[in-house]
């Protein structure tokens, strides 16, 4: 009787641990394939960046986060337009 009890406990623990990571990735699952691809590409580039460039980008991110919402929307819009233009060229 002891072995099935221990097995059940072990299985429960395993499910608990895997459920944690499954729930953790919920944000990721909500992204579109295009967004996922972009994030992966950017992450790979980020990994190769020297520390000072990383620091700079982190600063930029914090600065961007501190901007008012309408300003952020405007920047995003300008960026999208630029990208579209570059893509068309």
């Amino acid at each position: 009787m002891k072995i099935p009890t221990i097995s059940a406990w072990a299985l429960g623990l395993f499910l608990l641990l895997t459920a944690d990571s499954a729930f953790a990735a919920a944000d990721w699952r909500n992204l579109s394939p295009k967004e996922k691809d972009r994030i992966q590409r950017n992450y790979q580039r980020w990994e190769k960046l020297p520390p000072q460039d990383k620091d700079h980008l982190r600063d930029e991110w914090h600065r961007y986060q501190r901007l008012p919402q309408d300003e952020r929307d405007r920047i995003k819009q300008r960026y999208d337009e630029d990208r579209r233009r570059r893509h068309n060229d």
Partner: protein, 186 residues
């Protein structure tokens, strides 16, 4: 079996007294009063007769033969066994597996799984989203980090987009591997 005749009704005022009289209850005066009424009332006399006929039958116990009790016990045990079998019928499917090797197999499977997880350092991709292979868990779990990496291209040109070009200091590194980065002039 012949159905016993129903109890005849007596005078409403005497019904209860007649039953008590039958059981010998009540004082002498009360008994005399009831007897006097019964001698002059045909309904109540019939009621008393019926009581004398029916009540002893209600208390008599029927002796059952030993074979009845033997069968009763056997049938009860059989019914309980049948009920028990119905409740755990799924176990019969596993009957061949109920030897020592079922728990042993479970233990080995769990041990293998645990080893796999430890040696694979959590990179078990059986049920995993294969597109996340190159991203660490801390990034996947953090919505802000995902947003950061999604916006990385934009952050690289934030100065220009923000209209602050020329106002910010370029990082010291000259060997950036980002060809698309448009750092502001120092």
């Amino acid at each position: 079996m012949k159905k016993p005749a129903a109890l005849k009704s007596a005078c409403k005022d005497f019904e209860e007294d007649l039953v008590l009289h039958y059981y010998g209850e009540g004082g002498a005066a009360e008994r005399e009063r009831v007897e006097r009424h019964v001698s002059g009332c045909a309904c109540c006399r019939r009621f008393v007769d019926d009581l004398q006929r029916l009540l002893p039958r209600m208390t008599e116990s029927r002796e059952l033969p030993q074979t009845f009790w033997d069968n009763y016990l056997r049938e009860t045990v059989a019914k309980l066994a049948e009920q028990e079998e119905k409740k755990f019928c799924w176990r019969s499917l596993l009957a061949p597996m109920q030897s020592w090797w079922l728990p042993a197999f479970g233990t080995v499977a769990i041990a293998l799984l645990a080893f796999g997880l430890v040696l694979g350092k959590g990179k078990l991709t059986l049920f995993a989203d294969h597109s996340v292979a190159s991203l660490p868990q801390e990034v996947l779990a953090d919505g802000e980090q995902l947003e950061f990496f999604k916006s990385l291209d934009m952050l690289e040109s934030l100065d220009r987009l923000d209209g602050r070009e020329g106002g910010r200091v370029k990082p010291k590194s000259n060997q950036t591997s980002l060809p698309k980065i448009e750092w502001a002039a120092a």
